[in-house]
């Protein structure tokens, strides 16, 4: 008896990945993808989506487990092997040469496969006709909009004979209209027999374009569903559900006057796209407002605009009633705002000592006439280290030599010691061990209890749920929900983070 099984394009079997630093990215992921499917892979930051795709593309090797491509076990020593096997990858950040024309980029990418320039162009035209994917061959990449560049990447993969196409968060750089165009293109590619892996954290997109979806959480497969048969709510639950590790003591909140008010704020990202789109927000004294959301939804641009590092396009920001929209960050800091960035390499200079790092946001304070008072700075450094339990050999130790937890505590301590009224903390416990995490979270609650306003930006939902008095969810540059913590639960935040608006 012959059972007709649909042919498989990709089969993952027990893929584990442990990075050299001990970080476990994948814990035995197994699932298979049929030929001719648009297959969604859904998960939060750090779920292991990108790691899995990089393994499939031959960029990194799994610690254990096997991959089968079209029923053959694949052993890739690098992306070139993957490309030869028919795998194409379109990264979030494109790998095109800006000064070259589209044609030149295509020729360059096919060079190692030994396809002649003439052949490349013929193939490009053919596949463009077949799929209706139009790109101007003679234009320079620099002069093309992002959406078209992405098409060039897809054509590039087609020219290389890709049978399986991986798209890593393909919509994150696109405008809504470009997203619709992309989806049309993907449907045509599916008709022509291509298998497409669509990596995303957006629930709506999963529903709109995929045939099947696998949800990853913390490196594990939480389940695979036919898209038609699954609700957004169920997907959200699979994406975020977890046990809460520990809880914090929090007294009921007694909020005072609003300290930070943001009205209709618009900010552009580095690439010039609107990243923050009309955000309204107000935080009162003695309150923690937590902003949840998947990374890259405008959080960075939002907090950089508030702290004066990035110039907003329009809108107003008021700190303690004073308009600070157009002030530079050093002035904003002096008026009582502190910003703890998500990258420690930004908030600290790794290659200089602790005292010098104390001066980073407090230079004027310790150099009233332009000459630095080192003795005073050393005393202050010592007191910050003592108050915040920073363990280091001495104040002259290079920050690089401190553990991540101690670096974070020092950064936090430096800012709190300035006695700010508003504290913006972005991913304050990212990468810290349990002890340091608890310490930092307790400090933030202490600040709130002493009547400060805290704006917490985090992709860690436990952190948001534990600390916040009020929660807002940021999605594609907008706060799509805002309210007291009791109105939220993990499921609801999960849906919101995926772009599904739900009524309270």
């Amino acid at each position: 008896m012959v059972i007709s099984m649909p042919p498989m394009a990709v089969e993952f079997e027990g893929i584990h990945k442990i990075y050299p630093d001990g970080n476990i990215a994948l814990r035995g992921a197994s699932f298979s993808i049929e030929v001719g499917e648009i297959y969604g892979i859904l998960g939060e930051n750090g779920a292991g989506k990108t790691t899995l795709m990089r393994i499939l593309y031959g960029e990194i090797k799994p610690t254990s487990g096997t991959i089968k491509i079209f029923d053959h076990v694949a052993k890739f020593s690098g992306p070139w092997d993957a490309i030869k096997t028919g795998i194409g990858m379109v990264y979030q950040h494109f790998s095109l040469i800006g000064g070259f024309t589209v044609a030149e980029n295509l020729i360059l990418s096919a060079l190692p496969l030994g396809i002649s320039a003439q052949n490349v162009l013929e193939r490009a035209k053919e596949s463009m006709e077949e799929t209706g994917l139009k790109v101007p061959l003679e234009e320079r990449i620099n002069s093309l909009p992002v959406g078209v560049r992405q098409r060039v990447e897809i054509v590039k993969a087609l020219v290389r004979n890709a049978k399986i196409l991986i798209l890593d968060e393909p919509t994150s750089v696109l405008t809504p209209i470009e997203v619709e165009d992309l989806f049309e293109v993907l449907k045509k590619l599916r008709e022509s027999g291509l298998t497409i892996l669509f990596i995303t954290h957006k629930l709506k997109e999963v529903k709109a374009i995929t045939d099947k979806v696998t949800v990853l959480r913390k490196g594990q497969v939480m389940g695979t569903r036919r898209t038609k048969e699954v609700s957004e709510l169920e997907l959200a639950r699979m994406m975020v559900e977890r046990e809460v590790l520990f809880s914090l003591e929090r007294s009921p909140t007694r909020p005072g006057n609003p300290l930070l008010e943001v009205k209709d704020l618009w900010v552009r990202s580095d690439s010039g796209l609107p990243a923050v789109k009309g955000v309204n927000l107000s935080i009162r004294a003695g309150e923690i407002l937590g902003i949840a959301g998947v990374q890259g939804n405008g959080q960075k641009e939002f907090v950089e605009a508030i702290s004066g590092i990035r110039k907003p396009e329009k809108g107003t920001i008021k700190l303690k009633g004073e308009d600070i929209t157009d002030l530079d960050n050093s002035k904003v800091y002096r008026r009582g705002l502190a910003y703890i960035p998500d990258m420690r390499s930004m908030g600290l200079v790794m290659d200089i000592d602790l005292v010098s790092n104390l001066l980073l946001t407090r230079l004027e304070e310790f150099s009233p006439d332009g000459v630095i008072r080192w003795r005073k700075a050393v005393e202050e450094t010592k007191s910050v280290m003592k108050l915040f339990n920073v363990v280091a050999e001495s104040v002259r130790t290079q920050v690089r030599r401190l553990s991540g937890g101690n670096q974070q505590k020092f950064m936090l301590g430096r800012e709190i010691a300035r006695k700010p009224d508003v504290i913006i903390a972005s991913e304050p416990t990212h990468g810290l061990d349990v002890g340091a995490t608890e310490y930092v979270r307790n400090k933030l609650v202490e600040l709130r209890d002493s009547g400060k306003a805290v704006l917490l930006i985090s992709t860690d939902l436990d952190e948001i749920m534990q600390l916040s008095d009020r929660i807002a969810v940021m999605y594609e540059g907008e706060l799509i929900a805002q309210g007291p913590t009791r109105e939220f639960n993990l499921e609801k935040i999960g849906l919101l983070m995926g772009g599904v608006k739900v009524e309270p």
Binding site: S271, G308, I309, D328, N329, K331, G347, I352, S367, V371
Partner: protein, 348 residues
């Protein structure tokens, strides 16, 4: 720096010197000279005339600072040459007008600073690569200086050179322990100490260091990256100009038609800065060592009848081996930071 760092740097330096000397000895053996005698003369030959040695060292000390300070902000000041020429010619003209050495030197230094400012500002505000600007300015001011010397400032009695700095505007000598000495070295030394203070004890120096070490942190702390970059180049130019001004006002007292007393010193400063590990105090020692090798090499040419090319190669080997470990580190972090700046630059 802590004890460990010092230990590592001293180990690095000792190793580098030994490696350099070893290669130099092999070259001498290969070319048929006595390596012991050769290296002995090379290392000690310059010590005969201390005043001359230290004065020579002062010029490259200053051009060394001219390279080192901008380097802290990740700016490449290749323009030490042009800044020296301009410093020299402006100081000469100012001395003829004012008859005052201090005014002349100040004028020369400011002219160098102006050149550094142009180079830095073009890079910071117009994204013109500072290396290219500096190389072009070097040549432009080489010929402009020659034009001035041959057209307006030439000496009727000796047309190959300019008129002399007026007697009253020549910077004289001091006597230390019975030795008559040019004032150049004490001034260069003072400049080094002031630079040290500027870098490690003032707001502007702090900003320069942070901007050079971590553009992200600079942005976070509100440092104006463009202004800091320009400031560092301006200060670098100031030292280059000072070097040229001192060369004319306190040493040669005139400029010759081909600027022989200056040509190359701007570039030598790069080696001196790298050998001195980009540190204003280290540069004092590296400048003296550099000049020692140079003068020792000249002695060797006479004493052993060695061609100039060979002694240049020998001092080159020793200097490169000393500068290499640091130059490599600098280059790597420079490239890294340039990449980061490019990424950051897209936002503005």
């Amino acid at each position: 720096m802590n004890l460990e760092d010092y230990a590592q740097v001293s180990l690095e330096i000792t190793g580098s010197i030994l490696a350099g000397l070893l290669v130099a000895a092999i070259i001498l053996i290969a070319t048929g000279y006595n390596p012991w005698k050769g290296l002995y003369i090379m290392l000690t030959g310059g010590l005969g005339d201390l005043d001359y040695l230290l004065s020579r060292a002062s010029f490259v000390l200053l051009t060394g600072l001219a390279f080192a300070l901008p380097m802290l902000a990740s700016a490449f000041n290749i323009g030490g040459e042009g800044q020296m020429y301009v410093g020299g010619i402006v100081a000469l003209i100012a001395s003829l007008i004012t008859k005052n050495p201090w005014i002349a030197i100040t004028a020369g230094a400011i002219a160098g600073a102006a050149l550094g400012f142009i180079t830095g500002a073009l890079r910071a505000y117009r994204e013109v690569n500072e290396v290219i600007t500096a190389i072009m300015l070097n040549w432009i001011f080489y010929y402009i200086s020659i034009f001035f010397i041959t057209s307006y400032l030439y000496n009727p009695q000796a047309p190959y050179r300019s008129v002399s700095v007026p007697k009253g505007a020549q910077l004289g000598f001091i006597e230390i322990a019975g030795i008559k000495m040019h004032l150049i070295f004490p001034l260069a030394l003072l400049t080094s100490f002031i630079t040290y203070f500027l870098i490690f004890h003032t707001r502007i120096g702090y900003r320069i260091r942070v901007a050079g070490l971590s553009p992200d942190s600079a942005r976070y702390s509100g440092i104006n990256a463009k202004m800091t970059f320009t400031n560092s180049m301006t200060l670098g130019g100031l030292f280059g100009g000072l070097s040229g001004a001192l060369n004319v006002i306190a040493f040669t007292y005139y400029m010759d038609q081909l600027l022989t007393s200056m040509v190359g010193m701007g570039f030598d400063g790069i080696g001196v800065a790298l050998m001195g590990r980009d540190h204003p105090i280290g540069i004092i020692f590296s400048a003296i060592f550099f000049s020692m090798l140079l003068l020792g090499g000249q002695k060797m040419q006479i004493a052993m009848n060695v061609p100039k090319e060979l002694t240049d190669a020998l001092s080159g080997v020793i200097i490169i081996s000393l500068a290499m470990p640091y130059a490599y580190k600098m280059l790597m972090s420079y490239l890294k930071i340039r990449r980061m700046m490019k990424v950051a630059g897209r936002s503005s």
